[in-house]
């Protein structure tokens, strides 16, 4: 009995904190104020841009995270520990530092050449302080979570089946595509949803690398910041609650699909 009292007491303190945080937000704002805030054109534009950028960042994260997670799970190669460490850097790096690093990367002069200038002038696809910067900032962090999730997924899949497939005539690529990948579908969904949720909460790198221009690079996380900065607390709380609802939907989706948050 004392065991459950101690363990339950410690556990419930965290659960209680989350419940109180959400309850405080709900109590603070009336349904009328909530609706009015969400009907603002800036917030609606931010909502649309958030949906698009989070989805693109999640798809890109799974696209890159699946092969990288597979390589890290299946193969021992020189420098593997370094790759493994590099993947975690976006997770542990302060968000503002990540944004600043992206900004420097795109504007660093290498002789007479500069990545941003090349993209803008030669390719016709400027990035910094535009919507592609939002996606890249979100992807930089979300992909690290996708790699971790996919690595755990492939660790849990027995590689023997892929070995047998190779004796039957598969190349390594065919064994990956036809044997490993179909078994990893739950992990892929988990990686996509975790990446999406992570992209939703991204703020620091977006602010530094994409800016917070209303109707252009404003996503919901920057909406909260912008509304707070002009003293509109009701709108900031309304957007926060909208983000909570979106996060809950994503987490419920994970639970319904039975994927669990294993990474």
């Amino acid at each position: 009995m004392p065991f459950f009292l101690v363990m339950g007491g410690l556990s419930s303190s965290f659960i209680l904190l989350i419940v109180l945080l959400l309850a405080a937000d709900f109590i603070f704002i009336s349904p009328h104020e909530f609706k009015a805030a969400l009907l603002k054109p800036e917030i609606q534009a931010a909502f649309r841009l958030t949906l698009i950028t989070c989805t693109v960042a999640a798809v890109m994260s799974v696209w890159v995270g699946t092969p990288l997670g597979y390589l890290l799970s299946r193969y021992r190669f020189p420098g593997r520990w370094l790759v493994d460490t590099l993947v975690d850097i976006p997770i542990v790096l302060p968000p503002l530092v990540l944004g600043l690093s992206l900004l420097i990367l795109f504007h660093l002069p290498i002789g007479n050449w500069q990545l941003e200038a090349w993209l803008r002038d030669d390719v016709g696809f400027p990035v910094t302080y535009r919507w592609p910067a939002v996606i890249l900032a979100q992807f930089s962090v979300a992909c690290a979570f996708a790699v971790r999730t996919m690595r755990v997924t492939f660790d849990q899949i027995d590689p023997r089946a892929e070995d047998v497939a190779r004796t039957l005539g598969c190349t390594r690529g065919q064994a990956f595509l036809q044997i490993a990948l179909p078994q990893a579908w739950r992990g892929i969904i988990a990686a996509a949803t975790i990446s999406w949720a992570r992209a939703l909460g991204e703020f620091g790198p977006i602010l530094v690398f994409a800016g917070a221009t209303r109707m252009r690079t404003e996503v919901l996380s920057t909406s909260v910041f912008l509304e707070l900065s002009i003293g509109n607390l009701d709108a900031a709380v309304a957007v926060s609650l909208l983000m909570v609802a979106m996060a809950v939907v994503v987490l419920l989706l994970l639970r319904v699909l039975g994927t669990g948050l294993t990474a």
Binding site: D163, T167, L168, G169, C170
Partner: protein, 216 residues
């Protein structure tokens, strides 16, 4: 025919030095020895799943040492069977044939023939999830034999089966290998299995493979 000439293979701290032995065309050889002495490593080396440090591996008089696993024409049944969880029984039997781009009619004919011989024709549409141990063994054997390999390698495939199912599988395996004439190397701990199936018996002891007295 399977022949190993002075094969040295290293796996971490473990290594086998200059292993040589030969299973003649159409023979059924068993490889016996204590657990953890490298029997599976030898099979994986023959399959091409493990790189050897030196020596040569010959399949049907061809040096396949540098060939990829898929080019060696070897049917392999590992100890854990390693069935494909997302595949049906039928898909297992079709898999190697589809990779070889056989005609649909030929694939259907081969699957029908093989499933009849193995007694799994009523299971073709089933997923492998929920199959009994004996049924899973038959599927793994069918998958390995589907493309009519020149060599069949079996790594303790019946160790998890009850006695009566094991006896059934011995009868089936003997019938299949005799009818196809496939050269077989079967790793086992069971003397009974060796006596029931083999006509050549090899023993791995202290890193050396030697041929025991001829069984049949």
């Amino acid at each position: 025919m399977i022949e190993l000439r002075d094969v040295t293979v290293t796996a971490g701290q473990f290594s086998l030095q200059q292993i040589s032995f030969k299973v003649n065309q159409g023979d059924y050889g068993v490889l016996m020895g204590q657990t953890g002495r490298g029997k599976t490593t030898i099979l994986e080396s023959i399959c091409g799943l493990r790189n050897i440090t030196s020596g040569e591996i010959l399949i049907c008089d061809q040096n396949v040492t540098d060939w990829s696993p898929g080019d060696r024409q070897i049917g392999y049944v590992p100890q854990d069977l390693a069935l494909f969880p997302t595949f049906s029984v039928q898909a297992h039997l079709e898999f190697a044939l589809r990779l070889r781009k056989r005609r649909a009619k030929d694939i259907a004919l081969r699957v029908s023939e093989l499933s009849n011989v193995l007694g799994i024709d009523h299971l073709l549409k089933r997923s492998i999830i929920g199959l009994s141990g004996g049924e899973r063994q038959r599927v793994a054997l069918g998958r390995a034999l589907s493309f009519q390999p020149s060599v069949l390698l079996l790594d303790e495939p019946f160790s998890a089966l009850d006695e009566s199912t094991r006896s059934e599988m011995h009868v089936l395996l003997r019938a299949v290998t005799e009818s196809t004439g496939v050269t077989t190397l079967h790793v086992t701990h069971s003397n009974e299995e060796a006596e029931a199936l083999a006509n050549r018996r090899f023993v791995l002891h202290d890193g050396v493979v030697s041929e025991a007295a001829q069984v049949v």
